[in-house]
């Protein structure tokens, strides 16, 4: 076949494939944030939609049980939740920057959970984005090994709170996790994919502007409210993003963690786990450090080569830190492993910060 014809065949085939896959391409480009790629993908998706070329792919996705239609926004989900619980519509202070507002519902207290035993464990949901996944795949067996938890692993690569049109975590919690699994404890890690602009009603909010902070803080707070159980018997452990290293190509996780921490302090059912105190090297200015000492004094590599996702040792280390953190709230004395393995757990001398410093982005 002549090279010229080969070129035409390849180009046309790629064009055909691009048009047929337009929806999927747009979804993936949105997950990566705004930019030229997303604009191109949107244009292609518009053309594909105009000529109904996206229908075969939608049919395949539908047959495979993948979501194709519009999803519900977090405000709608929260309203539905509050309506079903018969609570007031302003149960959270989401949307406020100043951190001084508290919940307006009746006096909220730290959730009271029973002390788990091997005969009566607590259900623990764990997951989030891929960084959360790299951590939770080790938390799952470690939590199970204590005999006190029935773990549920649930993470999705490339997701977060910034792009609900790519993957709608609030809807997943509202429709799947809470009604079907009803976990006693939720251990969630998000944020690594949220270092990007936000889009609200077609308008782009540049990252770390006051409007961006208001919107992102609102999403975080509302998700925390969605996770709360009506009987206040569910504990949320919001795990901060570990300090990212130079190969990760992301930043501002200290800012994003500050938002998580600040929203958590307003909600007694949410407890923030200060990852940077465990993994950020010697304080007080915690930064990325690849190797950390475990309880036995040996220094071990905590990260995978991308300096963002946790290696097995790092995930085990953070998992035992999580168990320890939970143990400060719930009685875990019936654990089959009263003393965590010294070659996996963090040193007992590490103390989480009671207050996170306000970062320069927020000033």
């Amino acid at each position: 076949m002549p090279a010229g014809l080969v070129l035409v065949i390849v180009v046309v085939a790629l064009l055909v494939a691009t048009l047929l896959n337009a929806d999927s391409t747009l979804k993936k480009s949105k997950a990566k944030g705004n930019g030229f790629r997303q604009e191109v993908a949107q244009g292609v998706a518009n053309v594909s939609d105009l000529f109904r070329l996206n229908l075969p792919r939608r049919a395949i996705d539908s047959a495979m049980g993948r979501e194709t239609g519009p999803t519900k926004g977090i405000d709608e989900l929260l309203s539905e939740k509050q309506a079903s619980e018969g609570t007031a519509t302003n149960g959270s202070n989401s949307g406020s920057n100043n951190g001084s507002d508290g919940p307006t519902a009746p006096e909220e207290t730290t959730p009271v959970l029973r002390a788990p035993t091997p005969d009566d464990p607590l259900t623990m949901w764990m997951g989030g984005d891929s960084v959360g996944g790299s951590f939770a795949v080790q938390l799952e067996p470690i939590a199970a090994s204590t005999g006190l938890f029935d773990p549920i692993l649930d993470y999705k690569v490339g997701t977060g709170l910034a792009r609900p049109e790519y993957y709608n975590w609030p809807e997943h919690f509202a429709k799947d996790v809470i009604p079907k699994q009803d976990p006693d404890i939720i251990v969630a890690m998000f944020g690594a994919n949220d270092d990007q602009n936000l889009e609200v009603d077609g308008k782009v909010l540049d990252k770390y502007t006051p409007e961006w902070f208001e919107e992102y803080r609102g999403r975080v707070g509302k998700l925390m409210d969605l996770m709360k159980s009506p009987e206040n018997d569910r504990l949320i452990i919001w795990v901060g993003v570990p300090p990212p290293g130079p190969q990760s190509k992301i930043g501002h996780m200290d800012t994003i963690n500050f938002i998580f921490w600040e929203e958590a302090t307003k909600r007694p059912w949410v407890s923030y786990l200060d990852t940077w105190a465990f993994m950020g090297g010697p304080g007080p200015n915690y930064t990325y450090v690849r190797d950390m000492p475990t309880a036995d004094g040996k220094v071990r590599n905590m990260y995978q080569a991308d300096t963002l996702h946790l290696a097995t040792t790092g995930a085990q280390y953070l998992s035992w830190a999580t168990i320890r953190h939970v143990g400060e709230i719930i009685d875990l004395s019936a654990s089959k492993i009263p003393d965590p393995p010294a070659d996996q757990a963090p040193p007992s001398t590490i103390v989480e910060r009671s207050e996170l410093p306000r970062t320069a982005d927020l000033n």
């Binding site: 090279a3 070129l7 065949i9 046309v12 085939a13 896959n21 792919r57 080790q138 799952e140 040996k298």
Partner: protein
């Protein structure tokens, strides 16, 4: 950039056009391909590209001085031998620095710790350049072939640079010999006769194996190997089979794409996989799996060690050492060494058993039954060894094996679709070659418009059946 991505598609379209337009212009074409290849490699890190350039210059220089040190009739001299050894050592030092320093440092430190000696070995924190094992082996084959006077004409620097850096095989093989590549640089293929149908079929087959099959297998392999204790023995067993399929689909899929891409540019690579899971012995397996690595190990390790030119025990030693080092080549972890050792031991064992059976004659079973038993045994040995290849540690591998004999745990991932996929992939190893060749011929007879539609829909289906996001190729880490 990974092959099955939009970025690569755009890159390749540019390279395809440039390749065929510039092919009549000897020097310009070479510079264009070299530039494209360095761009491809720099996409990960420009620092890696500097290392590659250094390897190109260094090995080309070694090739020249080794050739100049040969005798007047091209015979080996002491000087040429020493220079060749220096070249090999230099390459291995570079590979060792990037790939093995931390592994050995941590291993030594751990062993000293065990006996109460606390030594803190300095850590280098170097990132492993992608594909370093592949282009280093290619460079070694070049200098050794010159040193053995098997390759009488050192390549010009530009040609050698194109050979070592050619993007299609740079990061995960096949390991192409200079003798297989050099003549193709001067041989100007006719742009009217591009082997497009064969290339399209290879690329599509590779895409399907990598994006659909390998990724699907990962849905059972990853959770089982992360946490064997949470899975039933039934699920662990199928995860072991699934990993055998996953690594085959991933690696052979990449190779198929590499061969197809090179073919579209008028370059033909050697075959790298030939239905390895139909093998009736481990010896046959290594004639069908990663064939270019097998022959590299044979020609540059097994034969220099002495090969079979000695006593039986000497041959067994060489076989075992070759497989042991071959295992280590795959990664800086003792699990790869164990994997290599298993293959080495079985290769030796096969020779022993073969000799034993030859002395005793037929065992009275029908030949088909014997073949079936041989196949089953070989396949399960390969799968058993793969567990060490996949596990992060020896303990993890033992955990996986331990679960095979334990009760309890989930079997949710062992669905009918999963079992059927694994069985179909195994069955595909026995499909006669004439069938895919026939499909290629039939495809080539289709009108171009139909070909466009078939390929476009095919890519859509692969994308739809695959996961969201492309995982890196398993062999990239080597």
């Amino acid at each position: 950039m990974l092959f099955p991505t939009i970025d690569f598609a755009i890159f390749f379209l540019v390279v395809f056009v440039g390749n065929w337009l510039l092919r009549p212009y000897r020097i310009a074409w070479r510079w264009f391909i070299l530039g494209a290849s360095l761009f491809f490699y720099s996409y990960w890190s420009w620092r890696y590209a500097l290392l590659l350039v250094a390897s190109i210059v260094g090995n080309w220089f070694f090739g020249r001085v080794i050739h100049d040190a040969l005798g007047p009739d091209g015979e080996r001299t002491d000087r040429s031998r020493w220079l060749m050894r220096a070249a090999v050592v230099a390459n291995l030092l570079v590979l060792g620095y990037f790939k093995y320093y931390e592994f050995f440092a941590e291993s030594i430190s751990a062993r000293l710790d065990d006996i109460g000696i606390h030594v803190s070995m300095p850590t280098l924190r170097v990132l492993l350049p992608i594909g370093i094992s592949f282009f280093t082996f290619q460079a070694i084959s070049y200098v050794v072939d010159i040193g053995r006077a098997e390759w009488r004409r050192p390549m010009p620097l530009l040609d050698f640079a194109v050979y070592l850096s050619f993007f299609a095989h740079l990061v995960a093989g096949p390991i192409v010999r200079a003798s297989e590549f050099a003549w193709q640089l001067d041989n100007r293929p006719d742009p009217r006769y591009v082997e497009a149908s064969e290339a399209f079929m290879l690329i599509f087959r590779g895409l399907f194996k990598k994006v659909v099959i390998s990724s699907y297998m990962a849905t059972i392999v990853d959770p089982v190997f992360s946490f064997p204790g949470g899975h039933s023995s039934w699920e662990v067993l199928w995860a072991i089979y699934a990993y055998a399929i996953q690594i085959y689909a991933d690696f052979s899929g990449y190779t198929d794409m590499a061969i197809g891409i090179a073919l579209l540019l008028g370059i033909r690579f050697p075959q790298n996989f030939d239905a390895p899971y139909r093998s009736l012995s481990i010896q046959e397996f290594w004639r069908r799996w990663h064939m270019t690595l097998s022959r590299w190990l044979r020609d540059y390790l097994y034969i220099p060690l002495g090969g079979s030119r000695g006593t039986t025990l000497f041959t067994y030693r060489n076989l075992f050492l070759t497989m042991l080092i071959g295992g280590l080549w795959h990664g800086a972890n003792w699990t790869f060494v164990i994997w290599g050792a298993i293959h080495g031991l079985v290769l030796v064992g096969e020779r022993v058993v073969k000799q034993w059976w030859a002395e005793r004659g037929a065992i009275g079973l029908p030949p088909q039954v014997v073949k079936a038993l041989q196949w089953a045994l070989t396949f399960h040995i390969v799968c058993f060894a793969w567990v060490f290849f996949r596990a992060q540690s020896f303990g993890e591998a033992l955990d996986v094996f331990g679960r095979l004999f334990s009760s309890g745990g989930s079997s949710a991932a062992v669905t009918t679709v999963m079992i059927a996929t694994i069985l179909l992939m195994i069955a595909s190893q026995f499909v006669p070659q004439r069938i895919p060749e026939g499909i290629t011929v039939q495809f080539s007879k289709l009108a171009p418009v139909i070909q466009m539609a078939v390929l476009g829909v095919g890519i859509m289906v692969v994308n739809a059946l695959g996961p969201e996001g492309i995982a890196p190729f398993i062999y990239f880490q080597f």
